[in-house]
Point group: C2
Chain length 286, copies 2
């Protein structure tokens, strides 16, 4: 293979990557080469534009750290994450809808007890979060409920300090119920001080996500559910920068006056209640 030109090079690269022994790696490699070359052929980049592309991707990679995943942000803001999510959740059934995982989950999150406050000392409006986890048949599940969300200024813990807050992991009770205290989150811009932020600006897009609480719920024999609960009336529900809003996931806070909260806590000031019931899909037969 010599003297490859604009027309002949793609077939030759397909031959090269087609040597992969693993059929899935071969399939992905061949598809990547075909679509990547088609993209390049269509836009006909100058050398300077190609160099900018290389530099952009390099900067995306170098922005990544223990607490920042810029390539997830890139995937999210180009709609790839929600497309992958849709492809992996095709079965229409009673299960709660899914949405993006996002870049802010932390593996070492605190393991807490039902009723605990995941945001002690964090300023903001008190929020009581509760719900149930059930199978499609309505049977309560013994599930691991992970939650994480922003503070009342729209920042996640890992963006502003080393201390983990506004996140935790709970085990449901025998009736499949969970509950905990926190503070009201807020809509927020995704981290936009890096190359993805520059891309959004160049594309004339705002960087905001509507207010939401993340959930990841796991139970043996069921598909792990990755989703959010959104709040009705948020100004960014119709223009989420990561394309993640589903109507079935939008609910309202219940506004409560000082008094006895649902778990018996005596509240001396107003608080909000967020109640949402989840249904997990059965794991696909292997």
């Amino acid at each position: 293979m010599r003297d490859l030109n604009e027309e002949s090079i793609t077939a030759e690269v397909l031959c090269a990557v087609g040597q992969a022994e693993n059929p899935r790696i071969r399939q992905i490699s061949e598809s990547l080469v075909r679509h990547l070359h088609a993209f390049v052929r269509e836009i006909e980049p100058s050398q300077a534009e190609w160099e900018f592309g290389v530099s952009f991707l390099t900067r995306v990679g170098q922005m990544c750290s223990e607490t920042r995943q810029e390539f997830v942000l890139l995937s999210d803001t180009l709609g790839v994450s929600m497309l992958v999510d849709a492809i992996n959740h095709r079965t229409a059934d009673a299960a709660t809808e899914t949405t993006v995982f996002g870049p802010f989950f932390v593996e070492t999150r605190p393991q807490l007890s039902l009723g605990d406050n995941i945001s002690p000392g964090v300023p903001g409006v008190p929020l009581f979060v509760s719900g149930t986890v059930r199978g499609p048949d309505g049977a309560p599940l013994s599930a691991l409920v992970d939650t994480w969300h922003s503070d009342d200024e729209g920042f996640y813990d890992v963006q502003v300090s080393d201390e983990l807050k506004m996140r935790g992991s709970f085990r449901t009770d025998v009736d499949g119920r969970f509950w905990f205290w926190s503070v009201k989150p807020k809509y927020y811009p995704i981290p936009n001080d890096g190359p993805v932020g520059q891309m959004l600006e160049a594309q004339g897009r705002h960087p905001f996500r509507p207010e939401h609480v993340h959930f990841m719920i796991e139970a043996p024999g069921f598909q792990t559910l990755v989703t959010h609960v959104f709040i009705d009336g948020d100004p960014y529900l119709e223009s989420d920068v990561v394309f993640g809003v589903k109507t079935s996931l939008v609910t309202r806070y219940r506004e409560c006056q000082p008094g006895t909260a649902p778990d018996g806590t005596q509240m001396d000031r107003p608080y909000l209640v967020l109640d949402y019931d989840f249904i997990l899909a059965e794991a696909a037969a292997q």
Copy 2:
């Protein structure tokens, strides 16, 4: 835009990125979204495969440093660099053919005088390199000739030490000639201790490039020429991992016995001569 599904999401993302004011940014963004979504739709990645993709690209970015450009290697090994090169050099004329820039050019390379040795103290077979730089009409050009190549074990200076060797920048003489001394390079594997090396292995490909000397030649009023000179008989000429070989760039060494070299140097041992004449294309009218 809510409740986007596998079918509707691409149109919505196209709407979002289509807000770009700059028409070229809009065109590239839209083309990227269409081709990227088509790729994802075709391979239908599992969540774990998507996570692997994010992690792969992150590792490619994080492998990059002052002296290592892993995204250039990724572009090179997927044939994108040569495709971009072909798109940018369509005019068929008398000019010397082009090939990939590669990741080993160093901006701060030494500025040397004609006849200098770019590899003092480097072990290997002595190599006298010479040639001319002319325009399409045969007129000699006052040009800046940059050269860089591997050592006799196939490593570039930046891969093994902080000292710049086997590279330099020369100004042609009034007859458009240049000449310098160095050592014979060798075929080599591209750096394959990173994610691109893992990709090549998974694809069943060797990581080798055939022996070559890089040239970048600049002269006012002419297109900058980025190319290599390859050596006939090399075992990797037909399977260059970056798809860069062109027959017109392949030549032979002249094997010389001890005695007076072309520049008058008295050689006490055998040496090689690499002679190649370059023709620069006129700069496109702006």
